[in-house]
């Protein structure tokens, strides 16, 4: 028996959905639309959007942001891939503790992650102390591109790790056994069986790493780096230059790029799931 879709039923469903839609419309879609207009309200008008893409400084900033985000994604996937597979495959005393410690920073905001980088590589940081003791030279890189990269990797490891472990649990061990029994080496099995199996999870969590690194602001803010990643440029334009039009246009470009990467990754990941099935 199909549930009768009576008028009453429909009204209840509409009543359940309407508040969320009103909220999103009034406080998200409408403001975004307004931002789009603001972006075109500067002295250059609608050409502001075009000017961004031809301005050397902004392009350079966008390039740097893309680069640091790509590096974050690659390093995080490598580390989380190795650690995640290891923790999923092996059972040993202390495993639960290791996993708990590794995922503890899951709820750290970017600012706190920035401070963690300072504790490690800042002026009073551990790396500085150790290097001073070893080589008589104090190694301080928290406030540079390397420090920012370190912070983004720190931020991304817990989330990515959890996704890799969850995906590795769903892999069919029979495939690996079959490959092994046919004489494939460990490297071969990893490359031909394990990595393709994990591919959708790697793509989607990689895209998430990339997107968060693109839009991250807290870490760069805490490190007060002189590297001009795009979110910092937007912030400076908005507060110091009071250039709302440019800040609006830049943040819309940033939002579009980030959303585009996530959407693309979902399509690719979805396709590779379908191909694997």
């Amino acid at each position: 028996m199909a549930l009768p879709f009576s008028l009453q039923n429909r009204l209840v469903l509409v009543g359940f959905i309407a508040p969320a839609l009103i909220l999103l419309g009034a406080f998200f879609l409408l403001p975004l639309g307004h931002l789009l207009l603001v972006g075109a309200s500067g002295p250059q008008g609608i050409a502001t959007y075009g000017a961004i893409l031809t301005n050397q400084a902004y392009l350079w900033s966008l390039g740097q942001t893309l680069l640091v985000s790509a590096a974050t994604t690659a390093i995080t996937l490598l580390i989380a891939g190795i650690v995640g597979l290891f923790l999923q495959r092996n059972r040993f005393p202390g495993r639960g503790l290791l996993l708990a410690l590794l995922t503890f920073p899951l709820a750290f905001p970017g600012v706190v992650v920035g401070f963690m980088v300072i504790m490690l590589a800042g002026r009073q940081g551990l790396i500085g102390q150790v290097s001073l003791w070893l080589t008589d030279e104090k190694l301080v890189f928290a406030y540079s591109m390397a420090g920012l990269l370190m912070g983004y990797v720190y931020f991304s490891i817990p989330r990515t790790l959890l996704t890799v472990i969850a995906a590795a649990e769903k892999l069919d061990p029979k495939l690996e056994e079959a490959a092994r029994s046919l004489g494939a080496s460990t490297a071969r099995v990893t490359w031909d069986v394990v990595i393709p199996g994990l591919k959708p999870a790697l793509i989607s969590s990689g895209a998430l790493c990339f997107a968060t690194a693109m839009g991250a602001f807290g870490t760069a803010f805490t490190l007060a780096t002189r590297i001009n990643v795009l979110p910092m440029v937007i912030y400076t334009e908005f507060t110091l230059q009071a250039n709302m039009a440019l800040a609006a246009a830049l943040s819309l470009v940033l939002g579009l790029v980030t959303w585009g990467v996530l959407a693309l990754a979902r399509t690719v990941a979805g396709a590779s799931v379908a191909a694997g099935a």
């Binding site: 969320a20 975004l32 190795i82 590794l102 401070f115 839009g215």
Partner: protein, 262 residues
């Protein structure tokens, strides 16, 4: 032999990563209770930094807790019925609603905050109240509540259960409260913990949305990192960690509970 060495190599990477993640936390915890961090623990332990932070920044901690509770209430009232409606109707337009819902997470918080300021920044009553920050937090956390509840509701056979109830004469509201809600308990719990954790830690949006009178915990932290001595910044971080630790443990517990259910 080869597989054994691979095991040790992976273990080494895992331990190194764990050290990378935990060592700075431990350093910060230590610095927060050390008299003078440059001199090390030898300078003695003290709680005066923690006290100083509690006195000067106590209001940011309270505001963050208040915002998190308010944010949770709103996402519960709006999000749970929405998840139910999405699970029940299962038509094409629901994909679009889900997509729209996820947008504030996909788009950098900085852009959302700028958009809110550009549209409503001139309403000074709203701009200077914590309500402005709450709006941002709700936009950002709502999808996590909806997805968490939706995941549980789509895993059970909601339709059959409801048909049974409907044939016994239960109306739509009755079916929502007596079938969907009890079945979605696990998802609601996991979603709630997630919402509170995210709200307490939100910075990207809040930094632009706050005013000097509506500072939240992460905003205060950023202030402290930028201008105060390392010991005070560490003590502040220590208080933050104390606040989120029970939330994190709760999240892990809720995830395990959801997993172990048949």
């Amino acid at each position: 032999m080869k597989r054994a060495s691979l095991f040790w190599l992976q273990l080494a990477v895992t331990l190194l990563t764990c050290a990378f993640v935990t060592v700075p936390i431990l350093l910060s915890l230590t610095a927060g209770v050390t008299e003078d961090y440059r001199l090390g623990l030898a300078s003695g332990l003290t709680l005066r930094w923690v006290e100083k932070v509690a006195l000067e920044y106590g209001d940011t901690i309270l505001r963050s807790i208040g915002l998190a509770i308010a944010c949770l209430s709103v996402t519960l009232v709006i999000g749970v019925p929405l998840a139910y409606a999405l699970a029940r109707s299962g038509q094409r337009w629901t994909r679009w609603v889900e997509e729209l819902l996820m947008l504030p997470v996909a788009i950098p918080g900085l852009a959302t905050a700028l958009a809110l300021i550009s549209a409503y920044g001139t309403w000074s009553g709203l701009r200077t109240s914590s309500l402005f920050i709450l709006i941002g937090h709700v936009l950002f956390t709502l999808p996590f509540m909806v997805r968490s509840v939706l995941a549980v509701l789509t895993a059970i056979d909601l339709k059959t259960l409801e048909e049974g109830a409907a044939s016994l004469g239960a109306g739509p509201w009755r079916r929502f409260t007596s079938i969907a809600l009890p079945n979605a308990r696990g998802g609601i719990l996991a979603g709630s913990l997630m919402v509170v954790t995210l709200s307490v830690g939100e910075f990207n949006m809040t930094w632009l949305l706050h005013t000097p009178f509506t500072k939240t915990l992460p905003v205060g932290l950023a202030d402290a990192y930028a201008s105060l001595r390392l010991e005070v910044a560490s003590a502040y971080t220590l208080l933050f960690l104390l606040l989120i630790l029970p939330l994190l443990l709760g999240l892990q517990w809720a995830a395990k509970r959801l997993e172990s259910r048949p």
